[in-house]
Symmetry: C2
Subunit: 243 residues, 2 copies
């Protein structure tokens, strides 16, 4: 209940979001045979500031050695454990179009920690298709399937239209973690986590910065921020000139 030195209580969200990045960087180091890494090296591989990395890791415990650094393998294990990757989470994918198909075959799932246990689609032309070791099941088999076998994570890879209804059904059968690829904001009850992967959103964020850069350049490098509202208009003008 009190705040002991390195008590591990409530790891900040920002830290949790970076742990997978560290894990990835550590994996690459391990492959190259690196046994030990300093916070400086690991931070640079992960693209963050070393103070931030140390602060993040300190939330998990004291797994480094002063004067030496971190043991790569041991840190991989500790982060994996913290993220819950030392067990296998059963995953279902709903919507086996182009994207769902790509996801079903994606190596990311092969990553320790997850197992795709079923694929669902409502299109009779897709149902029955074999993808790797799995056969695409009709969406209406969802309830029967989950009655037999627990599912931790549901991936929604349908078009926008049916996404909310699919999500509702996943929640209904007990799924409390949803990864949403459909271009809609899913509404879920409290206790259910949704994360969204969205191509358009990412592109739009890049476009914003791209526009800023175009304006900054046109204005002579510095002061991109001091636009009093002119950035968009200026970018338009630039675009008009350059195309």
């Amino acid at each position: 209940m009190s705040d002991e030195p390195s008590a591990r209580r409530g790891i900040p969200d920002a830290t949790v979001a970076r742990l997978p990045v560290y894990l990835r960087a550590l994996g690459a180091l391990a492959e190259r045979g690196t046994a030990t890494v300093s916070s400086e090296e690991l931070a640079s591989a992960a693209g963050v500031n070393s103070a931030k990395l140390r602060k993040d890791l300190s939330h998990l415990g004291s797994y480094g050695t002063r004067g030496v650094g971190y043991d790569v393998e041991y840190l991989v294990y500790q982060i994996s454990r913290e993220l819950g990757l030392t067990q296998d989470w059963p995953v279902v994918i709903v919507g086996i179009g182009n994207l769902g198909h790509a996801l079903a075959g994606y190596a990311g799932f092969a990553t320790r920690g997850f197992e795709v246990v079923a694929l669902f689609d409502s299109d009779p032309a897709v149902v029955g298709q074999q993808i790797g070791p799995l056969t695409v099941l009709p969406l209406d088999a969802l309830e029967a399937f989950t009655a037999e076998q627990p599912v931790a994570i549901g991936v929604v890879a349908t078009p926008a239209g049916p996404a909310q209804a699919v999500c509702d059904r996943l929640v209904e059968v007990g799924v409390r973690s949803v990864l949403n690829f459909a271009p809609v904001v899913l509404q879920v009850p409290p206790g259910v986590d949704v994360r969204k992967v969205d191509l358009s959103t990412e592109l739009q964020i890049l476009a914003f910065h791209e526009q800023r850069k175009a304006v900054a350049e046109a204005m002579g490098l510095d002061d991109a921020d001091d636009d009093g509202g002119a950035a968009a208009a200026a970018a338009q003008a630039i675009s008009a000139v350059t195309s």
Copy 2:
């Protein structure tokens, strides 16, 4: 240079990241024929707090009407303009495997603001494939292509191995915005923006919370945070019992 009332200088990153979400919610409202929306309604559709929404929009300017709300169409235009979507950004996709193929055909690009102008792959078996209006070009044609036609955004959809080299080449030919789907942390020079879309990362973040929820439940609902390090171990134990 000074801070006038609603001078638009440096929109916070957190706000920029949410503008696409608002845009999407507004699009859905527009489709349903809604002409006007209050911050309360729009916030709920976007899954955020209404104070946050108003604060975010206030960074763009004063586009609402007190006592009334926001004109949906006008707000769509203002956000689009701010994000730089009233012009078309040329996009290339490198790596036309399962995922790249899905991306090339993805409706997200059809969204106003982006145009896929070329697809590249280094596999001779893939080069020459026709995808929609485009033919997959050999990766080695990248330099010649960009010499002819400007490219704003590069999408890296290769496997992890070649991703950094591909990114380097994109940067070399002048691309300053990269959307990375490969499971690596790309290193880029200052002035280049990288955004990462990563299935594993998202799954791992969900797994962390899923684990917390499992533990919370086993401990009798409350106090999920007060684990002094026991969450992971407890989840393991739970998993062992329930499987």
